[in-house]
């Protein structure tokens, strides 16, 4: 599902180029639930950005779901991302002026997937799966953090992507809610989704299928590989 080969990522800074990833090799199989752990500034988010096509590598190849991301233009990457990857952010990142259901429908709208009525039906189905369908017509601001993250997960599933990438999905939630969200992820893996989750929480990381530890831009514990 995911194949990173000798991936290097450098950022220009005033003090010269800063190497955030120093030649990373990772392989993740379909249906895996992988936790990426590491300290702040270790290169976790950069790694996630490579996998989601949010950022491009300086060298090396990033192949996700059979597509070499380096060969896609920005526009093609956007279309690819919309259909292939569901992204879940730490701060939920819902659009504040759209209702919960509209937030979930948005990826379908941009990807031009299904007819408008079908989009609404699918959004409601996903919200029911996340047990928050009663909030469908509320604005995100009216929901708690845990509820907003459920909406974000529903949104990430809108186009039924085979891969879910979550960047600190529980980092902003209390432990009970974090646990509930983790259960949701486990359920999605059972349904055949591949999940890559960045986390600080070592307990949660241990509950994933395997964990990858990133330190100073290198994979130091490729766990399970």
């Amino acid at each position: 599902m995911i194949q990173l080969t000798r991936v290097i990522k450098e950022y220009p800074t005033a003090a010269g180029p800063y190497r955030a990833l120093k030649g990373v090799d990772i392989t993740i199989e379909p249906g895996e639930f992988v936790a990426v752990v590491g300290k702040s500034g270790s290169g976790k988010s950069t790694l996630i950005n490579m996998i989601t096509g949010i950022d491009r590598s300086t060298s090396g190849t990033v192949c996700v779901a059979g597509t070499d991301l380096g060969r896609l233009s920005e526009g093609q990457l956007a279309v690819w991302r919309g259909r292939t990857v569901g992204i879940i952010f730490q701060f939920f990142q819902l659009l504040p002026t759209l209702t919960v259901a509209e937030n979930v429908m948005l990826p379908m709208d941009f990807g031009n997937i299904g007819r408008p009525r079908e989009r609404r039906q699918r959004a409601m189905m996903l919200l029911e799966q996340m047990e928050i369908s009663e909030h469908a017509d509320k604005l995100p601001g009216a929901l708690s953090g845990g509820q907003q993250q459920r909406v974000a997960i529903a949104r990430s599933l809108a186009n039924d992507p085979p891969l879910l990438v979550a960047d600190e999905p529980t980092g902003n939630l209390d432990s009970r809610t974090a646990d509930a969200i983790f259960h949701l992820f486990e359920h999605l893996v059972e349904l055949g989704k591949t999940i890559v989750m960045v986390t600080h929480d070592t307990d949660l990381a241990q509950r994933a299928g395997r964990s990858i530890t990133v330190t100073d831009g290198l994979i130091v514990a490729p766990g399970g590989l």
Partner: protein, 795 residues
Amino acid sequence: MAPRWSKVVRDLFAYRTRTLLVVLSIAIGVAAFGAILAGLTIIRAELQSSYLAVNPASALITTQPFDEVLLENIRRLPDVADAQGQRAVAARAQVGPDEWVDLQLFVVPDDGLMTINLVRSETGPWPPPDRTVLIERASLDMTRASVGDVLALQLADGPTRSVPLVGLTHDLSLPPAAIAGQAFGYVTADTLIWLGGPADDNQVLMTTSTGRDDAEHIQRVASEVERLIERSGREVLVIDVPTPLQHPVELVLGTLVAILATLGLLALLISGFLIINTITAILTQQTRQIGIMKAIGARTSQIMGLYFVLAAGFGLLALLLALPLGMFGGYGVALFVASQLNVTLEGVRWPLEIMALQGVAAVLVPIISAAVPIRATARMTVREALSGDTTPPPARMSLLSRLLSAVAFIKRPTILALRNTFRRRGRLVRTLIALSLGGAVFVSVMTLRVSLFTTLDDSIAAQQYDLEVQLARPYRAERIMQDVASLPEVTHLEALVRAQAFPVQPDGTTAEMVNLRALPAATSLLAPRMSDGYWLDPADERSIVLSTNYRTKDPTVQLGDELTLRINNRDTTWQITGFVEEFLPPTTPALGYVNLASFTRAYGGTGRVDALRIATTGHDAAAHAAATMAVEQRLNERGYEVRLIRSRTEDRDILSERFNVLTGVLSLMAAIIGTVGGLGLAGTMSINVLERTRELGIMRAVGASDGAVQQMVFVEGITIGLLAWLIGTLLSFPMSYAMSYQLGMSLLNLPLTWTYAPLAVVAWLFIVLLIASLASYLPARNATRLTVREVLAYE
């Protein structure tokens, strides 16, 4: 509705203050643009339809007295649609104890029926009863009378008669009295005879059957009429072919249109800058949202589409305001201009084409203005957009910050405010452009106004005489000068001859009249302002100096050209040796100066003059009035018939009145553009405060008082205002110079005497400070109303 369009709609209404600012920025620009175009469209259409409705004469031919038989013969000529006789006589009306105004009297047919240059009766009987007069409505102010009053009227060599003013007319074939510099009245033939005037008509008004808009064709038909008149044994004195189907004031209107259209576009341009500022602020605020949308699959084109629709949405909301504002404003402009041009707006007409243009402008201006920031933000990579902040915090202090920090006496909040002013340079530049342009236009318009009057004063100053006496007929120069020179009020005087001369064209027809002044070449009562060539030389027998506005009538004319002038059917050729600057609108006939001795040798009348130019001991209005009275009394005592005495102060009043429309409309436009600029500053201040809400929260959390926060916002606003004032002032120099040159050339065919208006700079400083204070007040108040918790939670 698809979620992305729901987002656009909700974004429009979610942030009301911001939406209001953008909408107002667009609306004022579009409304000002629409008002100007609508006003001019309404007035032009009205002027044209009203003017055509009076069946304007294609040509006016002045000849010797004639009867109905001649008219019948003219009507039978091929391509003559109609011909009508007319008698116009120069007279004067008394407006004060010793004050008179020029009045042109027209004779109305006994049955009141007219077919060409139709005159409409406004109030009172038509035709006027014998021994009464009707006054053209735009002349009423000049006569200082009301309907029901009795006017003292006098023909050039007739008695003064008391004539009741029984009503008003509307005559659209004439320029308004203020522009013509004389009043117009209507009497019957019997009344004219009673006043001492001639009985028969002396002007033929004619219309052509075809080619009514073709001046050359009309000229050819008029030449046929001329030949027919000459075959009847009469001399043709003048053939006047006015610009076909064009009201006399349309020439002035052209200049007004050009200036106002430029100002309208400027208002739109300024509004464009404000839109860029606000849309950029919105995009900055929504950068992270854009990142999220891209992360979940939105393409750059989809993001751009979203924000273009948002910009168009702002435009459509603005249109709701701008349409009625523009149309009512336009109607106001039209009403104002109509009142000045003596036109009545018949019914309410809403120009659909201008409404459509407003619609296009309202949608396109924000889209075009926002294109660059939208493109730049939408093309950001997902990672950049998700990181949110488009401008990373500076790594080192700027030179300005270091300088400010080094100055010990400046308080910390002030230093912060001054630094903040320069933080968003693009926004600052656009705000400065908007406000500076507003200021530059304001100062330029005021300078234009002052320059108009300086040019007028210069022109008046060139006349180094205080009074001009026009006599009813020629008198011996030596005697009349002796009679007047002995008055204590008189310090110096010269005699001259005034004549109406007609340039003879190669095909034998005559062009528009030239007002000829034959005066001593070595005159000391005129300081001619030569624009080209040289003044009359006593040794030059056949030289003529023309006013520069002659060039608008004959653009091919050059120094050294020969000009044949016809006076009383006698042709003499003169060589043009100079052009002199005179304050004459294009509608006024050109002036020509020739040597008095040469003139009398060419046209006869040696030793006789019909006008005096007098320098008096005093030069103010009171001294002029006293001298006028003394001169008139002396001339009457000695048996001279006076047609008119006009003082320099009266001349100035008449001329300055001609520019009231122009300066009035220009001042209005300056106010509108200033408002748009002020709105820009208000927008910038509110965006700045909004963007720094978190920063302000941090400051309040560490102990910044309400006063300190407000001071920061105010100092920033005032700093921007002062910078805009400075730039606007600098910009106003070239702008006002260019405007003075352009206006002068198109209006008077000479550049205005550019006179900068420093008072306007001072006034603009106060206005800018007021605008800056008002623009900062609300954001400053809002900044102190937020609690620390609210501002730190702000996103």
